[in-house]
Symmetry: C2
């Protein structure tokens, strides 16, 4: 564990414990099976980043109520729902080193449990009785499903542009981060400018996290990642490093890259050739710099608020986005 | 077409046209693909029963606004979302005589388009800014997913009781009918007693419709049904006629029934043997009478309202539940 991660974990420990308890308390399914399947995805070592962002954002806005922890589970339930559906979409076998729900149970159970978590998240949102909050949360779900469909429809498409990529990751990742930060301002009845600042923070953090996540597919070790390195490319999913390299490469290198990408059953040595080309065209560096740029923008957005422990923790989370290894 | 259906269709034609237009106008996806997949399930000859119930219920309550038709699409979108997910869960190939979405496209696209429709429905609900309405609609989705999981978890379970069956169909079917009728009272700002009367009507109608639907699997012709007769049983899905027969049969007949049910690859002649036993133990008659009882309760609930064309149409819909052939 890095020093930053250690310091961060120490700061957020009490919040994480409260979030963990709230995740259990708010599930309330009729059926034991739903609890088991939902629990399999919910209680398998997730970082709880999204609920944590919500709780910290509320604190930055001076929220004094006691609904923030209950409310924060919305963002983990939504996240878990999309993981259940996406793992099925991607044909994934492992998540955080554990077999995914649709292999432990079956596709149907995974789909329906995802639906339940989605609905449960919305029911908790309704309990705020705050129209703006409910609207944002319903909107997040619309954007996320469309982001996933967009990504799916462009599988194996070598013409995927950087703009397409950013549109996809905005929908599938950044809107949820953005929503988690933004609605806390509404919950706290904070001024519009605070809502905007937190929305900006969440948006840029989400983009940075997704770029970093996509980078890990080329830089991490399978064991640390808890899933197979190179998995994105095997699924025909082009992410920023590859999109950059394809655009930057000379003709022979581009043909070499294309040949490897088109053959989704590429060998380990072909994958290393590809990573070598990503290196040659500084595509990993470029992607890292893009992520760093968004981290800087996220932190800049926090400048709107007075310095406080919660603001510092949010800044540390932004820095952490760049150094995660899994 | 029966006389009742003809008369009913003539009465509701203008509403159906308005609903059809609203279903198109409110879809608003970012991507053409989402429009295509959602359109495949939405515009393939659905009866529009749920939005129609909502519009008619609002009229019975004297609703004078102009949001009812927009609002009614919620119930068709929710219905379509569950069909997309359920067809996948059931491994169905045909729906209304057309190949299902997950075979035309793929499982993933069907799942994600279902998610989009679910989210779209909730976003439209949010536009009412009516807390009670949004709460009911979020709750419907929770109940439906749990009903489907309950059904799925009891596949092939010969111990499924009549009480289990009614709990499943309440969740998977009746809560949506009930919700469509009930929220219209909220939209119309009607007194609580009217909300309760419409909720009762919708609940009993939903139960009757599902029993009738389950009966069709034993009584209809494949062509009229638009899917294969006996499909429920082949999927290991026990419905009221079979549950009744298993409980009523003598030992040899029960063993015969069990043998056919356990072999989900039963022949046409085995299926006819089973239907013969359903007949012998009056299980089809029993199920029809149960449906008729719920239709009577649905109509009785409408007695709370003064006679009006809208109330008459709702009564006709209840009667239609018993005579549909597909």
């Amino acid at each position: 564990m890095t020093d930053l991660k250690k310091a961060l974990m120490a700061r957020v420990q009490p919040d994480l414990e409260a979030i963990e308890a709230a995740l259990h308390d708010n599930l309330t399914p009729h059926l034991e099976l739903v609890r088991e399947v939902a629990g399999h995805i919910l209680f398998s070592g997730g970082k709880r980043l999204r609920p944590l962002l919500m709780v910290l954002s509320a604190r930055v806005c001076g929220y004094g109520g006691n609904f923030d922890r209950t409310f924060s589970v919305i963002f983990e339930y939504l996240h878990a729902a999309t993981l259940l559906h996406d793992d099925l979409v991607d044909g994934a076998r492992l998540r955080r080193g554990k077999p995914v729900a649709h292999t432990v149970w079956d596709n149907s159970t995974a789909v329906l449990t995802g639906d339940f978590l989605l609905a449960r998240a919305l029911s908790i949102a309704v309990r705020t009785q705050h129209h703006g909050i409910i609207e944002i949360i319903a909107g997040i779900t619309e954007e996320m499903s469309q982001g996933e469909i967009h990504q799916l429809s462009r599988i194996g498409d070598l013409g995927l542009s950087e703009a397409d990529y950013f549109q996809i990751i905005r929908c599938k990742t950044a809107v949820l981060f953005q929503g988690a930060c933004r609605v806390s301002a509404l919950l706290a009845d904070a001024p519009k400018a605070e809502e905007t600042a937190l929305a900006d923070y969440g948006y840029h953090l989400g983009i940075a996290f997704q770029i970093a996540d996509d980078l890990l597919d080329y830089t991490a070790q399978t064991q640390a990642l808890g899933k197979t390195v190179g998995a994105d490319l095997r699924e025909g999913k082009l992410t920023l490093p590859v999109i950059h390299a394809l655009a930057a490469a000379d003709e022979p290198d581009r043909q070499c890259l294309e040949a490897i990408i088109k053959n989704t059953d590429f060998s380990e040595s072909e994958f290393q050739t590809l990573v070598g080309l990503l290196d040659k065209y500084q595509s990993l560096k470029y992607s890292t710099e893009m992520a760093a740029g968004h981290v800087a923008q996220a932190k800049a957005a926090l400048g709107f608020f007075d310095v406080s422990p919660a603001r510092e923790t949010l800044e540390m989370i932004a820095d952490y986005a760049l150094e995660r290894k899994a």
